[in-house]
């Protein structure tokens, strides 16, 4: 699950990491009030950042500076309501603009290949970190946490020194350890700080001092672990979750909406992707990825059908089930129930093989469903049905 920058920052603060203060505003007036409070503390300007769960906010014009309350209101009203990669901006983060001396990159991430937590850092922070990884892989420092003991002090020190942060060793070590601690505390699979900034601040006696702070934060949570962190469920952004996605998630289905016309219902992620690939290969466009999971019962199948049909672009449906844990007759019953109540009649091609396929076949025949034996045949029939419907 992705969470917003402001929520990610709250998690970092709770784990003791240095994050400059911020406020969240939903309206230009709220942004103005926030800017007024922040400017009153002596800040020369505020930064206003779109809160959306997609990257590239800066490039899209979703991050802007403002040096007065009027300007803050104007900038916020331009950003609020703006679309970034198809997502409407509904809130902004307002914070004091930092005086940045240098930008770094630091992240803790689940390294699948190594089966460990990987700490990554670079002295070349800023936006284009993927490009750095491709062009100058040597500019990225990597350390694996111990699988049993986590990130040890000496590892964090080595990491900090090799990032060129030896002059701020204590702070850098604390942040590195804090990232891993945040990951473990919330079952995150990514905790990313970009930029980790060296900022100039007025010290207690008026002398300018440098301090390492987390200026941006990105945290993604392991969906499999959310059950043991019920408080994190509140961070799910209802504004950015499509109603169909929510219904699917609550029913235990994995659903990703696409742009095509052929609705797909499949059991298993690999087979669902394959079904999409074969629809495309047969000349059609899949309308969605939908995995009903293992052992799905008839009510789950009916929910899946409702979600697929809610997309007005869908003009044909392909059901592909290879029964293992899932029983073919359960799916067939679900399809029959769903068709009895559905409001829109769309041609459907059903392929059910594996566990209880024979029982499924007789149920489907009785209910006069169009069926297919092989996956290729099913894809071809669904594409033909979609073309017929479009013609």
């Amino acid at each position: 699950m992705k969470i917003q920058e402001a929520d990610a920052k709250s998690l970092l603060v709770a784990q003791g990491l240095p994050v400059p203060g911020w406020e969240v505003a939903h309206t230009p007036a709220q942004a103005r009030a926030a800017a007024e409070r922040i400017l009153a503390t002596g800040a020369e300007a505020v930064v206003i950042k779109a809160q959306v769960l997609v990257g590239g906010r800066g490039k899209a014009g979703g991050v802007k500076l403002a040096s007065s309350t009027d300007e803050a209101e104007r900038v916020a009203s331009a950003i609020l309501g703006m679309e970034i990669k198809g997502i409407t901006v509904r809130k902004v983060l307002v914070a004091a603009a930092a005086d940045i001396a240098r930008e770094f990159y630091m992240a803790a991430v689940l390294d699948r290949a190594a089966g460990r937590i990987l700490l990554m850092g670079s002295a070349e922070g800023g936006v284009e970190i993927e490009q750095v990884a491709v062009d100058h892989p040597e500019a990225i420092v990597r350390h694996h946490a111990d699988p049993m003991l986590g990130l040890l002090d000496f590892q964090a020190r080595e990491f900090a020194f090799s990032m060129g942060l030896g002059g701020h060793l204590k702070a850098a070590v604390a942040i590195a350890k804090g990232l891993v601690r945040t990951m473990l505390a919330y079952d995150a699979d990514l905790v990313e700080i970009n930029p980790l900034a060296m900022v100039r601040e007025a010290g207690p006696d008026g002398v300018t001092v440098e301090r390492l702070v987390c200026l941006d934060a990105k945290v993604t949570l392991d969906d499999s672990a959310l059950a043991r962190h019920p408080q994190l469920e509140a961070l799910r952004d209802a504004d950015e979750e499509d109603p169909a996605d929510r219904e699917a998630r609550e029913a235990g289905l994995t659903f990703i909406k696409l742009d095509g016309t052929i609705g797909c219902m499949v059991n298993g992620a690999g087979l669902a992707m394959t079904t999409m690939d074969l629809v495309k290969r047969a000349g059609g466009e899949p309308a969605n990825f939908l995995d009903i999971g293992g052992g799905a019962r008839s009510d789950k199948v009916a929910t899946a059908m409702r979600i697929i049909l809610a997309d007005p672009k869908v003009d044909a449906i392909l059901v592909n089930i290879f029964g293992g844990i899932t029983r073919g007759d359960e799916v067939a019953r679900g399809l029959i129930e769903a068709r009895a109540v559905q409001e829109r009649d769309v041609p459907m091609v059903v392929r059910i093989v594996g566990t209880n396929a024979t029982e499924a076949a007789s149920l489907l025949e009785e209910a006069r469903f169009e069926t297919a034996v092989s996956l290729d045949e099913a894809a071809a029939k669904a594409v033909a049905a979609s073309r017929g419907a479009a013609a």
Binding site: K2, G55, A107, V109, L110, D111, R112, A113, G115, R116, I117, L118, M120, I129, E130, A133, V134, P137, I140, P147, M148, M183, L184, D187, D189, L190, E192, K218, T220, D222, S224, A225, R228, I256, L258, V266, N267, G268, A269, G270, L271, M273, T274, M276, D277, L278, K280, R281, P286, F289, G294, G295, F322, G324, I325, V353, G354, S374, L375, D376
Partner: protein, 294 residues
Amino acid sequence: MSILVGRETRLIVQGITGREGEFHSRAMAEYGTTIVAGVTPGKGGRFALDGSVPVFDTVVDAVRETGGNTSCIFVPAAGAPDAVMEAADAGIATIFCITEGIPALDMIPAVELVKRAGARLIGPNCPGATSPGRAKVGIIPGSVHLEGRVGVISRSGTLTYEAVQAMTDAGMGQSTCVGIGGDAIIGTTFLDLLQSFEADEETDAIVLIGEIGGAAEETAAAWAADHLRDIPKVAFIAGRTAPEGKRMGHAGAIISGGSGTAASKVAALEAAGFRVAGSPTELPTLLRDAGYRG
């Protein structure tokens, strides 16, 4: 010989008294797998599968009393990593974890402990393995198989069944079919199993079923280019048309350094001498084209 499972398999089922555990234990026994024990804490002393299989409280008891060498885990996600570690600690050599939905960070110490014990973990979130005609451990439907000499490795569940069914329909039997699991942290990789198949005298050809994400297919392909030159081998990659960026942010892209796409996997496999199918049903034909005569 086959790999991972065979006639020498003496299986302990962890979670045998649960709904899934019992259902699939029955199917495994019907297939001919030797199930020597079940383990459910608190139910030691009872018998499962109509009185035919003794149940123990701990894996170590089950191993001592029955000589089990393989375990299959149907324990719910919250307890599954512990079940894996318990099996490794009790001296089980081959551990299959079928359970899905295990938090990824829980698997890191479990995988490490298995490695230190010198055991092998398949999964989690995997369908298990079948050596047709000998034994099956896990949930792959027995009906899809045919005895033969093709080794099948897959990251998926139902897609494995699809590919194996296509092989069987074409009369191409299998030595062993293994699903390694789709989770982020798994015990055994494509590379590990290619090495096992290479050493297996009863495997003459390889089918590899991968999918987008990570770099496991690329890593396996790089090894195969040097070590599996003369073995007929085919592959299929799921997700050629899947939209990008649905899973991870910057850091994920950094780890894989641009790999992880279907195009990158197909290119790596083809460079290593795999013939890559556009549909699972094409696998048998491509394997013939690659020179397999089994």
